[in-house]
């Protein structure tokens, strides 16, 4: 896919993979990864809340590592592998993380949800979750803010994932 920025500022060419698809893009030097994903690629599941790294609603995976798309330049994403919420699970086949959140009613308005899914996906796939206490688990989630749920359903989903880690693992 090739996308060009609609901008009268000088542009930089970048090459990256987004949700397993190769992308060639030209971006403004100051464009964030969030800007690229949302405005140029139409992947609006990554949300922009605080633009300072606190709320977590923009969290994506870059080379498998959770990343604030608002604190990562599109230019820095050159030659990286980006995964957004659109690349995790499908409506017909939710990922383990997504299913756990649904089962525990960890969603209301949905604004924080993609960020939580990404954060939990990294944690779940890292193998660190299964050894964690509740306190450590909560700490891993403190970078994602939710204004609706009071976090109970989200923490319960994380606990379910911690318990399920050694049994059914989704293969993607």
């Amino acid at each position: 896919m090739e996308v060009r920025a609609r901008s009268d500022e000088p542009l930089l060419p970048i090459e990256l993979t987004v949700n397993a698809q190769r992308v060639s893009a030209t971006v403004a030097h100051r464009a964030s990864l969030a800007d690229l994903l949302r405005d140029q690629l139409g992947l609006t599941g990554t949300h922009v809340g605080c633009e300072q790294g606190v709320c977590g609603s923009c969290t994506v995976l870059v080379n498998g590592t959770s990343t604030r798309a608002c604190l990562f330049l599109a230019a820095q994403a050159d030659r990286t592998d980006v995964v957004t919420i659109e690349g995790l699970g499908t409506p017909a086949q939710l990922s383990d993380v997504q299913q756990a959140i649904v089962d525990r009613h960890g969603i209301q308005c949905g604004f924080c949800t993609p960020g939580f899914v990404v954060t939990l996906t990294e944690l779940y796939e890292s193998g660190r979750l299964e050894r964690m206490s509740d306190a450590e688990l909560r700490r891993e989630l403190d970078g994602n803010l939710c204004r609706c749920t009071g976090y109970v359903g989200l923490v319960d989903a994380a606990r379910d994932l911690r318990a399920n880690t050694t049994t059914s693992r989704e293969t993607r």
Partner: protein, 277 residues
């Protein structure tokens, strides 16, 4: 908000980065970007040139020596926190790293960036000061070593010249006879610390030698040393803290006393309570 326009460059070597820095009147190095980009998003910082040193391999080298850790400036907080080799070689540094921000921030933030940025609430400057560490820098004038004591001048202020880049951080290991403690408090987990302290304690038969470094309430790490009998530790600590924090208001001084007590308490009791979470 969006940052003001700038030019982005990504050199492949340190010397190339230095050339960019020297040639620009408003160039700024970006490492992890987790402190710089928020400031730029708020337009509190408006460098005209961003020099990304994130893919210079030399800056990510790590060497564990018998008495020190040598960490390349691009070493990420998550690595210091989670790498078992680093954690066992320097549990104090590893614990301090675990207190920085949130997971995604720690995945990208770097030790060089944190130290160069020198936020008063930052953890690494205080730890580096406590263990009497240093940074190695390079500039057009060559390389130099700057001890932590000389490096941190105030909030966002260091001894670094504008054309100088940190390439490596030397972190002395806590010696076997010493105990360490670390405490910070904040309103919510992951927020900037409101108060903090790092403690190194050597316990003799009838004497405790304590070196404690405060941060967050103080605009730079402030080292306090006391030597007292076990029964007098708290009284000596509190009066030393008060003596060193005469410019702080009452609330900040109280917070500092609490942080110092908790950090020293952690060192003495060996209980891992030293964090905001």
């Amino acid at each position: 908000m969006k940052p003001a326009p700038f030019t982005y460059v990504r050199p492949s070597t340190i010397d190339e980065a230095l050339e960019f820095l020297a040639a620009s009147h408003d160039g700024k190095v970006i490492a992890g970007g987790q402190s710089l980009l928020p400031l730029m998003n708020f337009r509190l910082a408006r460098p005209g040139l961003l020099i990304d040193v994130g893919r210079i391999p030399e800056l990510s080298e790590i060497v564990i020596q018998p008495t020190t850790l040598e960490l390349g400036a691009m070493t990420r907080h998550s690595r210091v926190e989670l790498d078992p080799t680093i954690a066992s070689a320097h549990p104090l540094l590893s614990f301090a790293a675990s207190q920085i921000g949130h997971r995604a921030i720690r995945n990208h933030g770097t030790i060089g960036g944190s130290i160069a940025h020198a936020d008063a609430a930052a953890e690494y400057p205080a730890v580096l000061t406590a263990v009497s560490g240093s940074v190695t820098t390079r500039s057009p004038r060559g390389e130099r070593t700057v001890p932590a004591n000389d490096l941190f001048i105030g909030h966002y202020a260091t001894d670094l010249a504008e054309d100088e880049i940190i390439i490596r951080v030397t972190v002395p290991r806590v010696s076997p006879g010493q105990r360490w403690g670390f405490f910070e408090s904040s309103r919510r987990p992951g927020d900037f610390a409101e108060s903090g302290a790092v403690a190194l304690v050597t316990t003799g038969a009838d004497r405790y030698d304590i070196r404690v470094v405060t941060f967050a309430t103080t605009s730079r790490p402030v080292a306090i040393e006391i030597s007292s009998g076990p029964a007098d530790v708290d009284r000596s600590l509190v009066s030393a803290v008060i003596e060193h924090t005469s410019t702080l208001d009452e609330r900040e001084r109280d917070l500092t006393v609490v942080a110092v007590r908790r950090a020293v308490g952690m060192a003495l009791n060996g209980v891992s309570k030293g964090g905001a979470r």
